[in-house]
Symmetry: none
Subunit: 202 residues, 4 copies
DNA sequence: TATGAATGAGCTTTCATTCAT
DNA sequence: AATGAATGAAAGCTCATTCAT
């Protein structure tokens, strides 16, 4: 019978393509209609599958699919951000790069970011692979490094990291309310905000 | 039968009590299990009602119930915040009071705040009475006043207001990740953050 | 407790008025939305009652209410038709009067007629007091009398009566498809139709 | 899951059989209990399905099922009538054939006809594919042709067509009141009726 | 690798009616 | 004469998932 694909064998080309197609459809559906409305039926419809059975076949269950969505978007985001923060030499520079990269990503990859936020804010859905702190930790590291290097003033790195993350997430939300909002302006405002907020007080 | 109550008649004592009981149960259910899982069945179970029919009896439909949830929590929040910001004389003071009041409220009324965020982040649910900008506007006003009075530096009031709002909402989220988090410390950090971020540069 | 009014006592003025108000609302609701949609809730809403309880109070059950609707409209129709057929001396004249009276009534009392047809065609609803044949019998009598008097040709009076009744009912239906349809023209066409169809063949 | 089947793919043999089985059960249920009582539950029970879910699986929604019922019965009727009117050379002959065919069909396929009338008289249910005038038009065409050919007298073809249709529909109704009613006798009476009613007056 | 078929549980909402003053 | 409160049953529909090829 074999309800699902065998999990120990590596994925074939066809299977990978199908999975990608389904994940793509899931991302678009979540971004467009919200997480709650992203049923297998709607995802299958968007992916133009004849039946939702194909989703159940390629993914263990819904959680498996959503996890894949999150992993995919998150790794793209991390790569995008990583590339742009890597060359920085100061914590201040790293923070600015981190902020600008995140906002740029959210601006150019709106669908992916919409899906990601859709999943995260939905609640009641716990992705085993991803912990809340795991997202914060890269920022926290930048902040701690900056404090250790004497670039930043004393503050609770965890709270500051949370604030940074919230403001980054704030861009897509602000976009919904103000569709014409410019990513660059938003980024500059936020960069300045945290520059002043973290600067050593003289 | 009275499919649902007439809306022009004032609510009787009993009806008010029942509605309150149901709204309370809805708040707790949303806060605990998330918006998506807050079905009539679960709400009725928590309120120890004989059937979900009693909910349909007292509320026009689910939207009506959820709206009541939001209105109730939001007005409590507004009153709490309003009382604490009213006596302030400076924009700086108002901003601090606003931040502390919001965080305190989120700390002491965690269930209510959890429900509120649960509804807002669920998406696809539009409360007619509440607009996105309506939540931001009180903060924006404080910020604009502070700029006009020369207390604050030049910045985009809308973006700064969004940042404030995101950081305020960030407290319940941070709580989930760090249950022992102290509201006072969080508030002080955030107050300092925005104090520095809005201060006129010398 | 007394769930319903006592049934052995004669109706008071107030009670009669209330019943009339409810029956009126039921008629309008059925005519406008159809029999299937004429729930107690909708009827109560149209009658501007605070609760459907008032309907249950004044009528034993739904069947009781609908029976009252039918009886009321039917007796008005019978009176209208009776008055106009009474003075006739020939069967031919009686038939024409019957046809014109019915169509006129359907034209001027569209709401009542709509409700009546709504109930009759709904099916599954048997009014004890009214039998199918009871409606046909006055026409059948006219037809039989005409045959006995030698005015009409030989035909099955029951089938002809059914045809007459169907054509009379056809006017409201035709009205729905052609709102501008003139009652007089329709009546004249139908009168001619049955005049020719019943006339003795030479 | 396949919430409901894709519509572009042709139906498989099994699916066609299931759909047919369900439509058949729906027809019988409507004919027996009336349209209002034809719930998914009752239809599933009659079709001996494990649950109503199977109906939702094979039909988009209730409207889809009912439409299929109507289309199926109506096309059978049309074919039956079409075959019998096709060979006629005169309008008079066509009218007689039309009348006899309809009444015969209603007599031999009582269940189907009962379902059809059940749906049409239920009201509030609009089958997109079928318009009121669409049913009348074939009769109207016969009548107009007969007038053009000088076979029929002058009359309003629309009203006469409506009368024909009402009398045709009248047979099943008459059957309910007089179960022993003979279709042939009824047909002959109606044929004579309209023969006389449409004949040129000398 | 894919798919058609089927399923049980759950959802919100509406129904006419009854309980208790 | 009226009413507020409550109720069980049933409705149509959608959910993710499993069965069987």
């Amino acid at each position: 019978m074999e309800v699902n694909r065998a999990c120990d064998t590596p994925l074939s080309f066809t299977a990978t393509a199908r999975r990608g197609q389904i994940v793509r459809a899931a991302i678009e559906t979540i971004a467009e209609h919200g997480f709650a409305a992203a049923s297998f039926a709607r995802i299958a419809e968007r992916a133009e599958l004849s039946s939702t059975r194909l989703i159940s076949y390629h993914f263990k269950d819904k959680k498996d699919l959503i996890t894949e969505v999150v992993v995919q978007v998150l790794s793209a985001l991390e790569e995008y951000v990583g590339t742009r923060t890597h060359g920085t030499t100061t914590a201040r520079g790293a923070l600015e790069a981190y902020l600008r990269a995140n906002i740029e990503f959210a601006d150019t990859r709106r669908t992916e970011m919409g899906a990601l936020l859709g999943v995260f804010t939905a609640g009641g859905f716990h992705i085993d692979a991803i912990e809340h702190d795991q997202v914060l930790s890269p920022i926290e590291r930048i902040l701690r490094d900056g404090q250790a290097a004497g670039e930043f003033r004393a503050f609770d790195p965890y709270v500051m990291a949370a604030a940074v993350q919230r403001c980054v997430e704030g861009f897509p939300m602000a976009l919904e309310a103000r569709p014409g909002l410019d990513a660059d302006s938003y980024a500059t405002e936020i960069v300045t905000l945290f520059d002043l907020a973290t600067r050593r007080t003289s």
